[in-house]
């Protein structure tokens, strides 16, 4: 079974059919800007020595993350990874909490216990990633299993990189999901590199989405820099899963536009590759699309960009006011108490 390669989404009419009105489109644009802004600002804070440890960004992957998250329903859940800041942003995590997380402050979602994008607000339907890739895929499948057992019309979305696709967890998760036709959608952020390792040393086939055939479900390849195409494919897959149609593997093709993390200058990535993909910058692509297809005006653009700028300034200020965690909090929560179970998912 050959995978389907998704067409780009062209006109405003097609987009309307896919369920997005102009308000939604501007919201997507705003989320793209916030996503990139959070990571750019984070990078600066890191260089200023305000962020301990290491620092990762998802530059190049914003459309993929925002597009998928936009397609999720309010009760759906997801397990985004280190290139998927856009998912947190789109689901409504307040940027100041993200900066607090970066800076190891008490008000970050993990209260300084974990760093980077190793966080999530479970009230917003997101589960905090672990470093071990792609361990969150079986967990996402388990969420879908709960939905299936309870016959809830909810879908779980699990992310993984094309590099992490090599690990057993990806296989066990997809096989179980396929056998039980669970309501889960697998999103592969294929950014062509796993740290310094190119795809031909990671997997020996053309499209990772072809692997869906090994598990009895559909695969689709989509241009991950085209937020609308990503949205449409994710939406299709999510609604199919919701209707009992089983899993889909959506491969979003992008390029990781920076090094693996701040310390990595990506010397091993051919310059031309960066140049070629820079022309397909997800934000710029969508901005032009909005101007051409949705009459985005200079004023509107400025207003959105200005709003995002203010939001981020304010977020950094507020995060910086958040205290460092009290050393005494180290041992808090190693074990859960029964009260901890009163979270939205545990009702």
């Amino acid at each position: 079974m050959a995978v389907r390669e998704a067409e780009p989404l062209g006109s405003l009419r097609e987009v309307k059919e896919a369920g997005l009105d102009r308000e939604d489109l501007l919201g997507i644009y705003r989320n793209l800007l916030i996503t990139r802004g959070v990571e750019e600002r984070g990078h600066i804070l890191y260089r200023q020595g305000k962020i301990p440890g290491s620092f990762y960004t998802g530059r190049g992957n914003e459309a993929s993350a925002v597009g998928v998250a936009t397609a999720m329903g309010p009760d759906d859940v997801g397990t985004p990874l280190h290139r998927d800041m856009g998912v947190h942003v789109t689901r409504g995590v307040e940027p100041w909490r993200i900066f607090a997380q970066y800076m190891g402050r008490a008000d970050g979602p993990t209260k300084g216990k974990d760093g980077n994008v190793h966080m999530a607000d479970s009230k917003l339907g997101l589960l905090a990633m672990v470093s071990h890739l792609p361990a969150m895929l079986p967990v996402a499948v388990g969420c879908a299993l709960a939905f299936r057992i309870r016959q809830e019309p909810r879908v779980a979305v699990g992310w993984f990189g094309e590099g992490a696709a090599a690990r057993g967890d990806a296989h066990e998760a997809m096989n179980l999901a396929g056998v039980r036709r669970l309501p889960v959608v697998f999103i592969c952020d294929n950014n062509q590199w796993a740290y310094s390792t190119p795809t031909h040393l990671e997997y020996p086939i053309e499209h990772l989405a072809d692997r869906a055939a090994a598990y009895g479900f559909d695969g689709v390849v989509v241009d991950g820099t085209d937020v609308l195409a990503v949205y449409r494919e994710a939406k299709r897959a999510i609604e199919k899963a919701r209707e009992g149609g089983g899993p889909t593997l959506v491969e979003c093709q992008t390029l990781r536009m920076e090094g693996h993390a701040v310390h990595d200058d990506a010397f091993y990535v051919p310059k031309e590759l960066f140049e070629r993909w820079a022309e397909r910058d997800p934000l710029e692509r969508f901005r032009s699309w909005l101007r051409e297809n949705a009459e985005l005006s200079d004023d509107e653009e400025e207003e959105i960009a200005g709003g995002v700028k203010r939001l981020l300034n304010e977020a950094i200020r507020r995060a910086d006011e958040s205290p460092l965690p009290d050393p005494a909090s180290l041992l808090e929560g190693v074990y859960a108490t029964p009260e901890d179970l009163d979270t939205p998912h545990h009702k």
Binding site: A128, V141, D169, Y335
Partner: protein, 324 residues
């Protein structure tokens, strides 16, 4: 009250909890039609259906990782490893995801993993292990090792209702060999509390699982010597009941720590080290450990006998302590 085997007590406890709490479901290899390799879930699929008694593919990672996701979504999964040994294939999910998620991200993971453990029937290196010591070094997990039918039921229900990932080590050699009265009604046995299996004054044995019975037999052999043995059955290895152990040690001043798993780096070391540190002035003899020698579990009966601590070994250890 009715007399039940250890196995029946586990099975009944689980069935009752599934009847009472519809969030509870079972997932594992061959747990459905077959009722599990040891028949703990025999008849469950007929009663609860295919979606609460799930025959999983041969996929320990998917089983434990899947249970984790389902638990976070509000279910109370009880995952079965066909043999405890195979939990090594789910290790990463237990130590990386389940154990740390509450602490890191505030998300509790109320799963139970049932682990048929232990040797004594020529199961060989891959069907006889007691892996509790590995997990007892992982903050965030709980490790339960019942010895009696009554505890087996009460601890299982507590484990299911506990908001944390709980590894429930059920000793295969006790399954059909050990029978005792088990209350009919639902009850919980608290995690983290030891039980005095036998009261005594001269030497304390700290142990758990099948070794409780080995210690008991050994203690009987010492009756003639006038040595009175106290047996503390830990029941929960993580967190372990330090207070109860220290109390017994303060009474007897002599301790033997006994476990079926191998010695070096086994959890007995933690208990012995803690006693030696915190009850230093109360000890009249060094804390002695008896455990399996440092090798994999052998298949052939004479080797297995040399591996698993025997009544005679314990008798000798107790005598040495008594005479110290």
């Amino acid at each position: 009250m009715a007399e039940k085997t250890y196995l029946q007590a586990i099975s009944d406890g689980l069935r009752e909890e599934m009847r009472r709490d519809e969030r509870v479901f079972v997932i594992g290899e061959d747990v459905g039609v077959y009722g599990g390799a040891f028949k703990v879930t025999l008849g469950f699929q007929e009663e609860f259906g295919h979606w609460r008694v799930i025959d999983a593919p041969l996929s320990e990672t998917a089983i434990v990782g899947g249970a984790t996701g389902a638990a976070i979504m509000g279910m109370r999964p009880v995952a079965e490893m066909q043999f405890a040994d195979f939990v090594s294939c789910a290790w990463d999910h237990l130590v990386t995801v389940a154990a740390k998620q509450r602490w890191r991200a505030g998300t509790p993971v109320p799963i139970v993993v049932r682990l048929p453990s232990g040797g004594g029937f020529s199961g060989g290196p891959f069907h006889s292990q007691n892996p509790e010591s590995w997990f007892a070094h992982v903050p965030g997990l709980k490790c339960v090792c019942p010895a009696t039918p009554e505890d087996a039921k009460g601890l299982l229900i507590s484990a299911i209702q506990d908001p944390n990932p709980v590894l429930y080590f059920e000793h295969k050699h006790l399954y059909r060999r050990i029978k005792a009265e088990v209350p009919d009604e639902r009850y919980t046995t608290p995690l983290g509390k030891a039980r005095t299996h036998l009261e005594g004054d001269d030497v304390t044995v700290v142990t758990w699982g099948a070794m409780v019975y080995t210690a008991e037999e050994a203690s009987r052999e010492l009756d003639g010597d006038g040595v009175s043995v106290e047996i503390v059955d830990l029941r929960t290895v993580l967190p372990w009941d330090k207070a109860a152990v220290l109390e017994s040690v303060r009474k007897t001043s002599k301790v033997l720590v006994l476990h079926e798993d191998t010695r070096t780096g086994g959890f007995g070391a933690e208990i012995a080290a803690t006693i030696a540190e915190e009850a230093f002035e109360d000890l009249d003899a060094p804390v002695k450990r008896i455990a399996a020698p440092d090798s994999p579990v052998p298949f052939s009966p004479p080797l297995e006998k040399a591996f698993i601590p025997q009544v005679d070994d314990v008798v000798q250890g107790l005598r040495e302590l008594a005479e110290y």
